[in-house]
Symmetry: C2
DNA sequence: ACCTGAACACCGTTCAAGT
DNA sequence: ACCTGAACACCGTTCAAGT
């Protein structure tokens, strides 16, 4: 069922329609409603399926930072691999695969010696950072022609007295997403480490 | 135009339809297409309108951390005030109000002595954290009946041998969103400060 | 320069009916 | 237990036509 879903999603979110999905499965569109209550259920399923792709790194108790970094990298990579994931994020993530990864993250932090409230807040900060980062990156990259970038740069340059700092430092020019992401993780991990009891 | 928009959005995203919007404006649905090319344009406009609500704090050069914290708090508050904003985040944010806030954030960091690449990465980390945090919170809160929370807790407790850490530490039980968010900001700011040249 | 109506090609979902 | 067809109440968007 869900397996047939990803196939479909490899051609965009907006095209994910009950009718089209049914066609892909070689059945009538209304048949799906026997297996599923509503289209939202389908979206929940496919979202959790995405998280199944995020592999859990080996736990290395001597290097909790490395373990967490590996987890976050995989998480981000999975989301970037499926740009439509951004559109599905506005829903509670309660599927078994999501929960398994959340459990893992908390476990690593607990093993590293963290306790609530810092353990909770650390997981919260890391998860939300990954989500936000993947979301904005896919937003910039998925917009059809991908000339969004050039347009944005022009727009910004034309208004350079309105946005002096952004222009002076070449805000838009850089698109070193990976490096920026990695530095962000470092900031958060540094801050978390400093809060360790 | 956009002014009439927010009125409408106060009744949910899914109900934001060209036909309904036109009705609200006392005109035919197709009339809108003279003012706007596509529904996406409307969404872009309303998203930027949201950022207009985020007020820029007074710049206090002696307290860059306080200034940034104030900006992020306002940003987050605006998004939480309009839960539909989560659904609109999958698009590049290029409206004048968004850019003004981005400029502000970069300016504060520059004034504090940061230079690229850390200035860029710091802004990136902070922005993505806010976006992710607001997104997940609205996801949990907007789901209709709001008993999502109770259901989630039950579900988690029933599977307590599968998710021992989440249960042991009361992952779901807490919902102190504000405190968690604030701690996250502290982590990032600590990490950023440590990277200051 | 602005607004309208009719029309096209879609949607998600329900429901009685079939096997 | 599973699948189907017809039907309902919607969508975004186009386009010729009006003022």
């Amino acid at each position: 069922m869900k397996t047939a879903l990803e196939l479909l999603d490899e051609e965009g979110v907006e095209r994910l329609t009950m009718r089209r999905l049914a066609e892909r499965l070689g059945t009538g569109s209304t048949t799906l409603y026997w297996h599923v209550d509503t289209k939202n259920d389908v979206l929940d399923l496919v979202l959790d399926q995405l998280f199944a792709e995020v592999e859990l790194p080996r736990k290395d108790p001597s290097d909790w930072r490395g373990t967490i970094t590996a987890l976050l990298d995989g998480w981000r990579a999975a989301m970037l691999r499926h740009p439509w994931s951004a559109a599905l994020l506005g829903r509670p993530m309660l599927g078994p695969n999501v929960l398994a990864r959340t459990e893992f993250l908390h476990a690593v932090l607990a093993d590293a010696g963290f306790t609530p409230p810092h353990m909770t807040s650390a997981a919260y900060a890391l998860a939300n950072y990954v989500i936000g980062a993947a979301l904005t990156q896919t937003a910039w990259q998925s917009r059809d022609g991908s000339d969004t970038y050039a347009t944005a740069n022009q727009h910004l340059h034309r208004q350079r007295d309105r946005y002096p700092v952004l222009n002076a430092r070449g805000y838009m020019v850089q698109d070193d997403w990976d490096a920026n992401f990695r530095r962000g993780v470092t900031y958060i991990l540094d801050g978390i480490a400093a809060a360790k009891p």
